[in-house]
């Protein structure tokens, strides 16, 4: 048993898959000799060689396109976006080429596109984004977004083994903040498409993912102590496909739902979850489905501005109180 950070758990998952399967290789900007902007791939090139840990030009579309081509030929590429904000440069390649390949042409494209996402780190508009909603609308892609070290490891391994393209979002605020003791010598695989009950409760459900899982947990502790509220928290872990069964189970248990995400509100994943609850569990609701999200602005740099724009623990506490009283 050893305590590891979220980032180390992710590294372990990547390392194990590189060791297990020589079809797995990595490509991205500055990932080789330097080990990546956040050192996720530090030491990989030394261990696995330049042919399997490839430093690329600054060309996200080419990185993803080349990964797709290699995947068609039976390889298992893991492409790093240095910051996930730059995945938009590969939007065409992912949504038009990669996502449609199996359906339109029977082409297997088992690629993973991973990279650091998220705010709370004073990264400004272009180093803080959460791009999930831009891809959530695209049949053919999968999107995973781990919140724990265990799932960081389990989901990267499952993503690499998946037969279809996976966007793997890793929150940089969690990289070195979250620590967890993971068993050694036991393989950790987190199934794609399965949510995780992060906290059991009876009065109200918070459905969330990524960094806001931890903010929701803080809020739940506070609500328990100060208000006597029993809050259940569902960590989605996979956004595409959504775990409808787990969502409806918690809705039917507590009858009140707060959906929390760090991404902006309009067109965000919370809207889709609310629509599905409306369709599948309308009679079970004792109140409106509420959302706590970022404000609909590009993410600003100054701490005062960023903290205002992004959802904070206190926002979740207040929204939950409002909903509990409804």
């Amino acid at each position: 048993m050893a305590e590891v950070t979220f980032l180390e758990a992710l590294r372990q998952g990547l390392w194990e898959e590189m060791e297990r399967d020589d079809r797995v290789f990595m490509l991205g900007e500055d990932i080789g000799a330097y080990g990546g902007a956040f050192k996720v791939t530090d030491g990989f090139q030394k261990q696995f060689g330049e042919a399997r840990v490839i430093d690329t030009p600054i060309s996200e579309a080419a990185i993803v396109g080349a990964a797709a081509g290699a995947a068609h030929m039976g390889l298992r590429p893991v492409a790093e976006m240095q910051f996930i904000d730059f995945i938009s440069c590969a939007y065409d390649m992912l949504t038009n080429y990669v996502a449609t390949a199996r359906y339109r042409a029977g082409l297997a494209t088992p690629i993973v596109v991973r990279g650091p996402c998220g705010g709370y780190v004073r990264g400004g508009p272009f180093h803080s984004q959460n791009p999930e909603a831009a891809f959530f609308h695209t049949p053919g892609l999968k999107i995973v977004y781990p919140a724990t070290a265990r799932d960081a490891k389990g989901l990267i391994k499952a993503s690499i083994r998946d037969e279809d393209p996976v966007i793997y979002l890793e929150h940089k605020w969690l990289y070195r903040r979250i620590k967890e003791t993971l068993p050694e010598g036991e393989e950790i695989l987190t199934p794609i498409g399965a949510a995780r009950l992060a906290r059991e409760g009876t009065d109200l459900s918070i459905i969330t993912y990524g960094a806001t899982v931890w903010k929701a947990l803080e809020a739940a502790e506070q609500l328990g102590k100060e208000d006597g509220l029993s809050v259940e928290i569902l960590d989605l872990r996979t956004l595409l496909p959504l775990d409808d069964a787990a969502i409806m189970t918690t809705v039917k248990k507590t009858n009140k739902v707060l959906i929390v995400h760090e991404d902006t509100r309009t067109g965000g994943v919370a809207g889709e979850i609310a629509a599905r609850i409306n369709e599948q569990a309308f009679e079970w609701l004792d109140g409106p489905i509420a959302r706590v999200t970022a404000h609909d602005v590009p993410l600003p740099y100054a701490s005062t501005l960023e903290d205002f724009v992004l959802p904070q623990t206190d926002d979740i506490v207040k929204a939950a109180r409002w909903l509990a009283k409804y």
Binding site: S59, A61, G65, A66, A70, H72, M73, Y103, P241, E279
Partner: protein
């Protein structure tokens, strides 16, 4: 308007390229004729509304399509080519069957994509071709990845990708070409300078004279050839393919040619000077030029070519008869196959009402 893409002095009839024997010359002719005859059949089916989507002709460009593909090694685990909509001839060379093309254009259930995709957007990696998507330039990075896999595995295989002159304005073309150049991928890029990107002429598309100039900017070995000279395109591609196979990296071959039909069959070509189209048809048709070479050099007899023409027409007739009345796909077959898991998309609730 000068025909600036036609070489000022037409070269003497080239010597027979060393690797080509008489049967191969006749086979090249057969692919040229098959391409043209099949497209003419597709036009007829289009006018009968049996081709339910757009129809894209390669009239005037058959030579470079067929000749470039003919320079590849064909067969399972051999070279891989990614064609564009005007490279029907290249797909036929690689082993696509006329009936597959016909079914695909008519959206038949038994077609290669079972009615999901249009025109020549389909693939058979065993035969060695990978279908394009409509986003021009995107196949360059994808083919960079395919050829990267050849390099990583030490396989003596080569990839070939076509880009149109208009597509050389896209970001993915530049990213892909640069990526492949840096990685020294065994990739041959055929740049088709056909003068018209839908309605846009070259001078509104780029400020260089030759597309090869762009490729040279990436450290890529690049040449410009007469795209309507079948043997010249074959020789240039063969040379590039062999170099790429020997680890010499990316090669770019610009083929100067001319799109004699509109962007698609619906297009009235109002923007193309009529005399320009006429001149290319009269003076620089790739099939006519190849036939002349075959006959002038006594590499073939006129009767042999007529036999091929008849056989090709029979083949296209038979393929048409075999599929023209086939059914379209069943509606529910739209749902499976987006992913391995889940195996099918959900049928929505209102369809059960």
């Amino acid at each position: 308007m000068p025909l600036h893409s036609v070489p000022e002095a037409r070269s003497e009839t080239p010597a027979l390229p060393a690797e080509l024997e008489r049967p191969q010359l006749l086979e090249l002719y057969r692919f040229l004729r098959l391409t043209r005859t099949l497209e003419e059949r597709l036009v007829a089916l289009y006018r009968q509304s049996k081709v339910i989507g757009g129809l894209f002709r390669s009239l005037g460009q058959e030579g470079e399509s067929v000749a470039a593909a003919y320079a590849l090694e064909r067969g399972r685990h051999r070279d891989i080519l990614s064609p564009l909509i005007r490279n029907l001839g290249a797909m036929l060379v690689m082993g696509a069957k006329p009936i597959e093309i016909l079914r695909q254009y008519m959206a038949k259930a038994e077609g290669p994509t079972h009615g999901r995709e249009l025109n020549v957007h389909f693939n058979d990696l065993d035969k060695g071709y990978l279908g394009q998507i409509s986003h021009l330039g995107d196949m360059v990075p994808v083919m960079a990845g395919i050829t990267l896999s050849f390099k990583m595995r030490g396989e003596p295989r080569v990839g070939l990708v076509y880009v149109g002159d208009g597509a050389t304005s896209t970001g993915t073309f530049h990213e892909g070409l640069n990526f492949a150049a840096v990685q020294r991928c065994p990739l041959v890029v055929i740049g088709e300078y056909n003068h018209w990107a839908y309605t846009t002429p070259p001078e509104k598309q780029y400020a260089v004279k030759d597309l090869a100039e762009k490729a040279k900017g990436y450290g890529v070995h690049a040449v410009t050839v007469d795209g309507n000279d079948v043997l010249a395109v074959y020789a240039a591609t063969k040379h590039a393919v062999e170099r790429a196979r020997r680890g010499k990296g990316v090669h770019f071959i610009e083929v100067k040619t001319y799109r004699r039909k509109g962007h698609a069959e619906h297009d009235d070509q109002s923007y193309q000077p009529k005399d320009e189209i006429e001149r290319w048809a009269q003076q620089n048709d790739p099939v006519d030029r190849f036939v002349k070479q075959l006959l002038d050099n006594t590499w073939a007899e006129a009767a042999e070519l007529a036999d091929i023409d008849r056989a090709v027409k029979d083949e296209v007739d038979q393929a048409t008869d075999a599929c023209v009345n086939d059914p379209l796909p069943l509606p529910e077959t739209a749902l499976p196959g987006v992913y391995v898991q889940p195996a099918a998309a959900e049928r929505l609730w209102f369809r059960g009402l």
